[in-house]
Amino acid sequence: MAERSFAKEVQLLKLGQGEELHGEGILAVTKALLQSGVAYIGGYQGSPISHLIDVFADAEEILQALGVHFEQSANEAAAAAMLAASINYPLRGAVAWKSTVGTNVASDALANIASAGVKGGVLIIVGEDYGEGASIMQERSHAFAMKSQLWLLDPKPHLDDIAHMVEQGFALSEASSTPVMLQMRVRACHVHGVLKTKDNVPPAFTLSEALDAPQRQVDRIILPPYNYQHEREKIEQRWPAATTFIRENRLNQFINADKGDLGIIVMGGLFNTLNRAMEHAGCSDIYGNTGIPLYVMQVVYPLVDEEIIAFCRDRRAILLVEEGQPDFIEQSIHTLLRRRDIQTPLHGKDMFSMAGEYTCELMEKGIRVFLEKYQPDAITRKPIARPAGIDDTAIAALVPQRPSGLCTGCPERPFFPALKLIEKEFGRLQVSMDIGCHSFATAAPFNIGNTIIGYGLGPASASAHMVPHQKRAVSIMGDGGFWHNGLTTGIGNAVENEHDGIIVVIDNGYSAATGGQWIPSSKADAKRRQYRVSIVEALSGAGVKWIRKVRSYHIDESLDALREAMTTRHKGPKLIVVDGECQLNRQRRIKPQIKERLKQKKRYVRERFGVDEDTCTGDHSCIRLSGCPSLTIRENPDPLRQDPVATVVNSCVGCGVCGEVAHAAVLCPSFYRADIIYHPSLFDKMAAAIRNTLISLLQNSRERRREKYSF
């Protein structure tokens, strides 16, 4: 169960020969996998490829009909290890994850599979979280391709090209016994376009056939002496086989190679942006009729030496458009030209920039520099200067940042006010954070947490701080991170080393930050899941002795647990499990139920919080401690007061954290909870009638006095 339902998109996967699929890039990948006769699929979610995993999770029926096995892997290492099935059998397999974080986790398994080589085609789809909007450190997947010898595809960002490269990727993998990576940039994952579809193909060789007649090739096991043999195979057989396949199937493209004596080499994924930049400089048009020859590399590793030599030789100069650093491709081409003694100058990072996303603006500048130097008359359009008179600083002061924060009603939120209140008692704390929604607590208004080191690595990253001290170090990890690897890396490590610190596991029932996918401890009902593991039991199983489970919305419980953990004499890790269901998922789960109840005219109580505008004095302590998106401000209705008052908007789901915070921090008496009773019972109505009559009577007497003096 993910944040979005893909029931509609799943239907698109059924489209057959000659039909049109209107959808996102990532859906084209999904469809192309089924058109390629894939036998098994695995992966771990994360932007920008979460949708791929979610679509497959919702497509059980189609996958079953085709005989395709799908797994939502526990982490990227599990997904990569799954590819071992293609070493001995002609099974096509595909896995997907967010890169480079996922590739880091998977790299052990990937290296071994790449060494053994594959019989069935293997495709690793990596969602490159690079450039604007990225949530991770900025690195290149390219390095993994080089070190383990995996081929790296970078398709042009059109749905047809993407699908074509998926299909060709499997064939390339089989032709060269090498796993193939296909990288998808964020914008390409989300690009909406049209794909001409083909029929889905059931796997030629099935998983049952493999189990019926298991095969064993001893030379595919990565132990000596075969590992030495694998290294030779990579260079002597697989590499040449790959370059031959790439050339014969024209995976890389030459465009207008006869139009002059300059040349531009571009990674496939950057093709559209490059063409637009050239359009702006006046050396191409919207149809891609470039005035300068292009070599578009849809395979960025390995380089096809013959193609590059053919393109570079006899040209006056070459411009390479390679995004990201280090400049692996540029270095390789330089080496190649040097070795063949070709004197054509090669430009690249010197004319663009070493680091950062290659935006259209940046590319246009680089192209202009290149053409100014070698062929000024090719520039036929002037650059657009930024409009004069823009006072950026004046506008910047008017445009506040919107850092990512926790959602309305988020069960992770209430823990952070508790931690802030504990800091008031014990002083500032060393807090090691993890990957997950709770990472956003590092931003305003909580500003908690010193480091984020990786998914499930929160507790381990606090290891050095886990020494006896009157202020114990705190580490925080979500349940997503816990199951991703935190149970071993974090908890196992803390138990073995008797860490004297506090570890907090926030249990919201889903891998929430990636879109709300299932994890072993998910509690909500689902058809397919028989295991619902308790995190507390898992912790005891791992040997933790001191465990407190608190209900997240009850801030006082968190406060008590933290206080106790801070002062207890217990040696060894102090575990606090903060329990509360992810509100996004909860709302999606209960909304249809509520709707049904209301439709049947059954009694239903809706809860909502509010702030009394006339008792609120507008100091906004509540906002600083709660940070809820539904708790905001508005104009003060009192003409004497100038500061805006706090207010709760209607998106409130009634989680009660603002009220709890006001209580726990002794803030102010302005918060109220309103229960709105729909379809009240007869008893409700009678009791209300009696109460209201008496209350109105009393209210009216005071009303009359005030009336007397009012004007």
Partner: protein
Amino acid sequence: MAALNEQEEAIKIAVLAMGGQGGAVLCNWIIQTAERCHCYAQSTSVPGVAQRTGATIYYIEIFPHSNRNDSKPMLALMPVPGRVDMVVAGELVESGRAILRGLVTPERTTTIVSTHRDYAIAEKSSPGDGRIDSDQLLEQAEKHSKVLIGFDMARLAEENDSVISSVLLGSIAAAGVLPFEKTAFEAVITDSGIAVEANLKGFNAGYRQARQHDFKEEGLEKTDRPKANNTQVTTLLARVDSSYPSECRTIVVHALRKLLDYQDLPYAQDYLAHLDTVLTRDTAEKGYRLTTTVARYLALWMSYEDSIRIADLKTRSSRFARVRKEVQSDDDQILRIHDYLHPRPEEICDTLPAALGSWCLKNRFCRRVLGHFCKNGKKITTTRLSGFLLLYSLAGLRRFRRMTLRHKVEMTALRQWLVTIDTVAMDNYALAVEVAECQRLVKGYGETHKRGMNNFNTLMQMVDKLCADNNAADTIRELREAALADETGGEWQQQSNNTS
């Protein structure tokens, strides 16, 4: 060089939407309208972690089907500064963000913006008023755009029981940047089969409003003062009219209304008596700044929030009605209100007669008993008889308020403040105004109130020392602003130490 088609260019649209505004739906509508009208259309977005409370930028390119051998256009995936035809912003600050990114240019860009505000966390969490100046931003947006269509689309959507995305689509249709008929947009909404009626209503409302071209909203309304019911009140108001200059009158009248509501007629008369003294120190050439300022803060101080006041406000019928409206409850539904109250021993003692109150505060046994009672917050159901009666009787203590400990403490400090203003005003008018403004520091309840009061006292002590200094007014203003902006007080304490 080959002949290149300079003029053939895609229509470029950037959509900046907040989470939950239906940005993806809006883009789908635009794409579908374009495809229906025989255009190539491509959209993409960079959501990243923006799904959690941030803003997402969607980018759309639209290009008519070509006559040239069915050549397909190469559409790009990111907006380029200076080359965007239409910017659609679901919220005012997001249009500012588009300007900062260079996407809005006077030669080219039509900006469609909903002028409502969804406050950013920095604006919300400021201890004072951290909001940016909306008018200034709108002015900038107008200056940078070729055409600006801006009005409160969130409100229009709400008024039409619709969603903001449909109002935005209506404005886009009206803007005329896209070469599509209004009916094409409507057909797409209808064909989607989802919430068709509501979406069409929002769409048409947006379309109409955007076509009106008069986007400036009405200025503040002039209010005529209604007649008072009570002759003594009438006399009081007449006195304001006769002895106060017009600059101060509005605020004094607001103040009297508040104090009559807070306590009683003599209390309001006291207020005016205090203010009369201040007025004697003031002159027309200073614009009566001192009187106006004191008029505001004196009223706020005199209506300090004690438990009697809270109980009074919580039990009013007007409050019950307001809550019902705020939580959008119909009259046939039953409403229960639970109030979150957390009195400390101090608040309880404050409400006692002064002597008893201060004895209780000092007595260890008393404090312990009260401390135990106050350990946890109380949730009182004000719509239930027991809860209502408790608060109602507490509110009834209003007539004994002048005897309470809190009143004594507040009035002592207040008189001291007035004396300081009076003394300072003789030689340093500007400083006196700043001293008056310092009351703004005192607000909130419990710890917040205590911290504010401490800050206030620190400043007051400084006033005595600074009095002779020429820059005293500026120093006090800077320190006050620092204290208001800094909750923990670390930075401003340092500043004030440096000064003293």
